[in-house]
Amino acid sequence: MNHTSARRFGVIACALALGMPAWAALAPLDLGSRAALFEIPHGTWARRMAGDPVEILPERIRLTLGLQDLLELRNLDEVPQMFGPTLMMPGQSFRLPFAKAGIYDFACTAHASGQMRIIVDPYPATPWARLAWRARNGLDRLTGRATRGIPQGVNE
């Protein structure tokens, strides 16, 4: 690599190093849907009866006010199912909106801990908050620590 190429590479690297955080801090946030959707697919009960431990709802769900602040559960199976905090009939859906940031714990028999935790973060209003939100969101996705549901209308 000659001197000119090295300088060009350095300029690009600097632009990326400055540009990425600037984008993360200033670009508007949009998750597409306010709902974090979780579905019990058709046939889940039969799979469980056959010994397949089907895991649908994570132990921890992270939501953000103003971006994704609605938990939506759907039971597409043929039998009633305990789904997170509540019992749901076949074909029934449950939509739980959150209006305040905080930590919400629900008794849940589907998890070994007996609890399901929903963390509702405040809306990241400032550039610094948006940067931190994007960083935490990316980290959560990488480590699988929190789940934000599947896009609306998409079955597992």
């Binding site: 019992l87 009939m89 029934q92 919400y104």
Partner: protein
């Protein structure tokens, strides 16, 4: 000539979002709603506790126990406050509290306990089997846990159900909501929201 209809249209469009938000429940909503499973328990009002008795009213149904030191007293205090806020509509809202601890919670004990919050509250108790069957129908979790010495507590579902005047389970309000929220949703279910 055209000013009045134009003004009316503008007013209609301006008020539409208010009307929409006013008629939306704050609680989590079931779609479609299902008929509330019957209780058939021993009521603190001296007769069998059946939800059919309260058709035409909004029923707020919770589960807990009289020795509960944190969740139940808060929930019951909030519900009592909500009924006060409802004023004349309070008579159309019935709070029903079902025990998860039949070993301790006799009908008499529950009556005295609930009256501390609101004498209009009705409690339900019964055999362990009967209460377990009711909890299963509603998907309520209640696990007895040992505390220090011979003391014990129950880890139980802390949310309450909102049942409309037709006897359908319409919504579920998680723990932590204010009296304002309950009063709002009661008004919506009564068609006054």
């Amino acid at each position: 000539m055209l000013r009045m209809p134009l003004l009316a249209c503008c007013l209609l469009f301006a008020l539409a979002p208010c009307a929409a938000s006013g008629s939306t429940l704050i609680a989590g909503v079931f779609d479609p709603p299902r008929a509330a499973p019957e209780l058939g328990l021993e009521g603190t009002h001296g007769r069998t506790l059946d939800l059919a008795e309260y058709r035409g009213k909004v029923v707020i149904l919770g589960f807990g126990f009289t020795s509960c030191s944190d969740v139940c007293p808060v929930t019951l205090a909030v519900l009592a406050q909500a009924r006060k806020q409802l004023g004349p509509l309070a008579d159309q809202v019935q709070v029903v509290y079902v025990t998860v601890d039949p070993a301790t919670d006799t009908a008499e004990r529950m009556r005295e306990y609930l009256a501390l919050f609101d004498p209009g509250f009705v409690g339900g108790t019964g055999s362990e089997e009967a209460l377990k069957a009711v909890r299963k129908e509603y998907g309520i979790v209640a696990n007895r846990q040992a505390k220090d010495g011979s003391d014990y507590t129950y880890a139980h579902s802390s949310y309450v159900f909102l049942i409309d005047p037709q006897g359908m389970v319409r919504a579920l309000m998680p723990y932590g909501h204010s009296a304002d929220d309950f009063a709002h949703d009661a008004r919506v279910l009564l068609g006054e929201g």
